[in-house]
Symmetry: C2
Subunit: 321 residues, 2 copies
């Protein structure tokens, strides 16, 4: 398999991306290759500086770069020779099996939707985060974490379905429980959005819905899939990151809280499109880049995209029936 990495993506690129890619080599698997997309000279120099032979990687020369603050669609069309634009093109043409970047997240989302398209039946792609649980070193998946604020009820149901498949294939849960993040646990609680989506989740045959849950249950091994609107999910995740950083700053270390470090997962997959894509955190460190690549590999190994396609084919058939 060939995993594409946008060398120029992220605040600390290219040194953090190259270092992360090097550190992922030991776990990327026999016969698999990391394809570095970026300015060739720069990549070679970074590798030489670190005493790493360039034969360890494939290099795809992309002289251009989409900056963090560029307008996504405009940048994608005007910079076909950037890592992000080329990554999606190569992925769509089968020259890559997966693509990852810690660069411009808008461009990553736009590229995923325009080049790869949504899996038939998926209304909108989504992004997710891993939330550490108190017991068993477990992680749950929180989604959506920002792709779709003001998500319609039918889109939120799809978050639940996609999250369940992710929890099953990538996190290894046989029968993941789905909770709806809300301000109370009783049926009928919450804002209009939660009230509308609740009955749809209850009826959905593809998930194991356990009802509403409150933030206090977020780390309590209560649900493996935590569903929220893109606005609320983003706020929840950013508050977790805030606490983690405050603790680091204040010199507090703790096995549970330490697992809130984004570097452990390195970012978020873009779920619901026709190929494995991973969106790294803007501030990605080499460790985060390494873990982003290994998560991407895991998505490929576990056949996540295929599983999503299969389920949504059934989903579409049912809605048409």
């Amino acid at each position: 398999m060939r995993f594409g990495l946008d060398v120029m993506g992220g605040d600390f690129a290219p040194s953090a991306t190259i270092e992360g890619a090097i550190s992922a080599l030991d776990s990327i698997g026999e016969g698999n290759r990391i394809v570095l997309l970026g300015p060739e000279d720069l990549i070679r120099k970074e590798l030489v500086d670190r005493g790493v032979g360039e034969d360890r990687f494939d290099i795809s020369h992309q002289p251009d770069c989409i900056a963090m603050d560029e307008k996504p669609l405009k940048a994608l069309s005007e910079k076909p020779d950037s890592g992000i634009a080329a990554g999606f093109r190569m992925l769509a043409q089968g020259e890559l099996d997966a693509f990852a970047s810690a660069g411009n997240s808008g461009a990553m989302l736009a590229g995923a939707v325009t080049h790869l398209k949504c899996i038939p039946g998926v209304i909108r792609p989504c992004t997710c985060a891993a939330v550490p649980q108190e017991e068993d070193g477990a992680y749950s998946v929180l989604l959506d974490i920002g792709t779709t604020p003001d998500a319609k009820p039918e889109v939120m149901v799809q978050f639940a379905v996609i999250g369940s498949i992710y929890a099953k294939y990538v996190l290894g849960y046989a029968d993941p429980r789905v909770g709806l993040m809300n301000v109370g646990t009783e049926d009928g609680k919450g804002n209009l959005q939660c009230q509308s989506v609740f009955p749809l989740l209850k009826e959905c045959p593809h998930i194991h819905f356990i009802g509403n849950m409150e933030p206090r249950e977020m780390f309590k091994n209560r649900a493996e899939v935590i569903v929220a609107d893109g606005f609320v999910g983003n706020i929840l995740l950013k508050e977790v990151e805030t606490f983690y950083r405050l603790m680091q700053k204040r010199g507090i270390s703790d096995p549970l809280f330490d697992r809130m470090n984004y570097e452990i997962y390195g970012g978020s997959p873009i779920l619901g499109v026709n190929a494995p894509v991973f969106l790294g955190h803007g501030i990605s460190s080499p460790l985060a880049i390494r873990n982003m690549l290994l998560q991407t590999k895991r998505m490929c190994d576990q056949g996540l995209t295929e599983a999503l396609r299969k389920l949504f084919a059934a989903y579409v058939q049912e809605s048409e029936a």
Copy 2:
């Protein structure tokens, strides 16, 4: 002044409420009285058990009690001799200067609106929480924390106005800064609600609006007033409480995080109605009850209701002009 306390309100009533009331006596001020509303025999027994003379308090015999899970409006009309119903009646008639309860929050809100009415110009009352800041031992105010999910833009602007008055009069800030809780700091970010309220906040002459803020800035002394929808505010607050409790459970102590303990403030005022009302946390401990009473006293001492009335009179005049 006379501060009414619903003796039967809260999960640990009446022992926690009586103990809290006793511990507040030393700070309640010369000439002020705490009025205990509840079953007379029970109150007397609790006082005797603790060796406290009943002359230290005024007792208002209310034999009935509204349970935590009763339907608010029904309970208020069917139980006029409950602490909550009587408290609002006495407050409306001037027999009390303020009223506090850690009981049924729906009944407290309904009682406040039906008995006291909103201050002219206020569309809906709101509730708020104190959020500790990293520097100077400061607290900011977060509102709304649950009264109004799906708040309309004009209601959210009123949260900002009410929060600013609260920050000025109760927290002592001369010129409190207002931030809109959002998923990004740039103008135009967020869900439809944030996008709609942003320009209204920018134009509002009664507040010092500094723009959008993210959860990472929540503890950073960036804004003294943090505005959110009742749904989002409740989620944010519950996540803070979750972290505080996780830390307690895991034996971690830290000056900043310890200030996230709800007991320090004891609950939330109900802001925007015609008299000072305080809603305690359901799980209120004696310390929380004590601090709830002292916060209530502070609201009275600082003339918060009068200040709100004055500002909203100007506000109404402007909207009519």
